[in-house]
């Protein structure tokens, strides 16, 4: 006897992959649907709003998109779309300043969070196994309380007769209360406090999976503890550093609650500007334009990062 003999069960095996293909398609469909529904559609609505015109009416923008499919009506409506809101943004220095303030404060806060978060994540990752879960739980414990309440509580700590000033006065470190509340410093303190866990968690994830033998190998090859940290620990945690920094920086740039509660009148962050355009001035189109610009500015570094990552991988292979 010659030729190919199919073992029994081969037929069943052959059916399995196509089943799996269907399964994997379904699995991909769910996030795609989710993205379309909750990311793409709202984004399109915001973009469309940003090229509309603000009017005193209900809804407060023009043009309305026609309900029928009549091409004539559509041409008319689309012809009314305008880039005026973007021109206004570019013309007024207020928005540029708010953007710079937002980026600056978010940057400073991210830097502080990175340094302090790294220390904490490292301590957790190097703690004995049975301590790790407890320490991680402590990191995420604040999430059990409302964000708003926790930030509000900082007012009590930072105000001129608050706990911090009283403690400093009692210790004789200062002779008169420091004006911390309603300054940029208070905003940075609030941001650092509120976003620290978002840095610690991804950092811990990348530090914990590092093979301890790598540090031993580095020591064996003559590297001091400091050199081991800079040449092994840090480079290998780079994905965690990037993920944590983005997770903190991006929402902080558009943050509204922290500057609203802890910042002064001069702390103009984009989130607040957007809020006041939307709710105080009822200028939905301008607020949308701010949101679109913010989005574009924040997406750029991510795209650049992906691009450089891709190029490095290409170079490597």
């Amino acid at each position: 006897m010659s030729g190919v003999v199919h073992p029994p069960g081969e037929g069943g095996k052959r059916r399995a992959p196509s089943k799996r293909r269907w399964g994997s398609r379904l699995v991909l469909l769910a996030p795609a649907l989710w993205l379309a529904l909750f990311v793409l559609v709202p984004l399109l609505i915001v973009v469309r709003m940003s090229v509309s015109e603000s009017v005193r009416a209900r809804p407060p923008y023009r043009p309305q998109l026609p309900a029928s499919l009549d091409p004539e009506l559509w041409r008319e409506a689309l012809g009314e779309l305008t880039l005026d809101n973007y021109r206004d943004l570019a013309a007024s220095s207020l928005y540029g300043e708010a953007l710079l303030t937002s980026l600056g404060l978010a940057f400073v806060a991210t830097a502080i969070i990175l340094v302090s978060g790294y220390g904490i994540a490292l301590a957790v990752a190097r703690a004995p196994q049975n301590w790790r879960m407890i320490l991680l739980a402590a990191v995420v414990l604040p999430f059990w309380t409302s964000f708003l309440v926790r930030v509000y509580a900082w007012i009590g700590i930072l105000k001129s007769d608050g706990w911090l000033n009283q403690a400093f006065l009692a210790l004789g470190l200062i002779s008169a209360p420091l004006a911390i509340l309603n300054t940029n410093a208070a905003v940075v303190i609030g941001l650092v406090y509120a976003y620290l866990p978002f840095m610690i968690l991804p950092l811990h994830a990348s530090l914990e999976k590092q093979d301890p033998a790598l540090l031993e190998a580095a020591a064996d090859l003559g590297a001091s503890p400091l050199r081991r940290f800079w040449t092994v620990t840090v480079p290998l945690s780079l994905p965690g550093i990037v993920a944590g920094s983005l997770l903190c920086f991006i929402p902080m740039v558009g943050e509204f609650v922290v500057p609203e509660l802890l910042g002064g009148t001069e702390t103009l962050m984009l989130g607040r500007v957007l809020w006041s355009e939307f709710f105080s001035n009822a200028n939905w189109p301008l607020a949308s334009a701010i949101a679109v610009v913010l989005l574009a500015i924040l997406i750029l570094p991510i795209v650049a990062l992906r691009e450089s990552e891709r190029r490095r991988q290409e170079a490597a292979s």
């Binding site: 093979d211 033998a213 790598l214 031993e216 190998a217 580095a218 020591a219 064996d220 090859l221 003559g222 590297a223 001091s224 050199r227 040449t231 092994v232 480079p235 290998l236 490597a316 292979s317």
Partner: protein, 356 residues
């Protein structure tokens, strides 16, 4: 071989909580020798190596290098290097980056570093792979990067923890030969952990056998093979038949042993007094088939239970009258006995050894 002692391990004990990982081990390593640590899993081989490298500190005893106590010296200041079982290559560095890592703090200037790197690349036959990352290498190439990285600093002693464990059989054998050749050329003292006794036999100048944290015996491959210090060593190094019996008479070199069924045999003995329960070790290759009716000394009656043709000989499994299984390696054109056939096995008293 230069017999100058380079590392002296003195009564070293290491505990992890209540468990004793290394128990009262003393061992001298000579400069330039190839020493293999052999033993079953969990017997403390890695722990002993890690104490020499400095990753663990002994609870008792001391470890000396060139007569100076090493205890308390961190690993980065010990002039020894270790090749890890998992290789522990830096995944974010290229082949060159990995090998050159230890050179940056080695007191060499830039040109010397570059020359040493090139030399190590050449020795490890990694030319053309300098810019690859570990993930882009085969298992054998990774193994050579790890070896080159550990040797780049020209350590006095190289510690290798199961360096060939992750390689497949054929690659393993060719790598063993390379390792031996490299060690001879560099003259570096090698201490290698393995639990493959063939590997230890073919590579080592001396073998140390560990059991449950203790170093049972250290000696040349021939010594531990021919004069095992215990039943454990006899069974661990090579195949051995251990025939249980009692000493009935003791002579200067030989002892007479009575087996349970009354058979009396003679074997070399270094220890043991009449009345002691001992085992007689006979290697399978030292047993031969004797014609059943010819009387003589050192004869054992047995029944064949299985045979296997090996090309250059026949492997026979047989059962003694006492019920004990015994292995025989018959060479050349010996007639192959049938299953169930009653045979008589013979051996020279010189080739048998009393172990306790």
């Amino acid at each position: 071989m230069d017999s100058k002692t380079i590392i002296r391990i003195q009564t070293v004990t290491k505990r992890f909580g209540p468990a004793v990982a290394v128990r009262n081990v003393s061992l001298d390593l000579a400069e330039g020798e190839f020493f293999c640590l052999l033993g079953p899993s969990g017997c403390g081989k890695s722990t002993l190596m890690r104490m020499i490298a400095g990753f663990e500190e002994p609870d008792e005893g001391r470890i000396e290098l060139d007569g100076a106590d090493l205890v308390g010296t961190p690993p980065e200041r010990r002039p020894l290097n270790m090749m890890f079982q998992s290789y522990a290559l830096f995944p974010h560095m290229t082949v060159s980056g990995n090998i050159a890592y230890g050179l940056r703090r080695g007191g060499l200037d830039k040109a010397e570093q570059a020359a040493r790197l090139a030399e190590m690349i050449r020795i490890a036959r990694l030319d053309g792979f300098e810019t690859r990352y570990p993930a882009q290498l085969s298992g054998g190439q990774r193994q050579r990067v790890a070896l080159a990285r550990a040797l780049a600093r020209r350590p006095r002693v190289l510690l290798l923890d199961e360096p060939l464990g992750a390689l497949d059989r054929s690659l393993r054998e060719s790598t063993q030969a390379e390792l031996k050749e490299l060690q001879a050329r560099l003259g570096t003292t090698f201490v290698m952990v393995t639990h493959d006794q063939d590997e230890a036999m073919s590579l080592a100048d001396r073998i140390g056998i560990m059991q449950a944290g203790s170093l049972i015996q250290a000696g040349s491959p021939r010594e531990v093979y021919e004069r095992p210090a215990s039943r454990f060593v006899a069974g661990f190094i090579g195949a051995a038949n251990l025939i249980e019996g009692t000493i009935i008479r003791r002579e200067p070199v030989f002892a007479r042993i009575a087996l349970a069924d009354g058979t009396e045999i003679e074997a070399r003995a270094e220890t043991g007094e009449p009345g002691d329960a001992v085992a007689v070790m006979v290697r399978p290759e030292h047993l031969s088939l004797a014609a059943g009716d010819v009387p003589g000394p050192n004869r054992l009656a047995a029944t064949v239970t299985a045979t296997a043709f090996l090309g250059d000989g026949v492997s026979i499994r047989a059962r003694l009258a006492s019920g004990q299984d015994i292995r025989v390696l018959a060479h050349g054109g010996a007639p192959e006995p049938l299953r169930g056939e009653a045979i008589t096995l013979a051996f020279a008293a010189d080739a048998a050894r009393v172990v306790t």
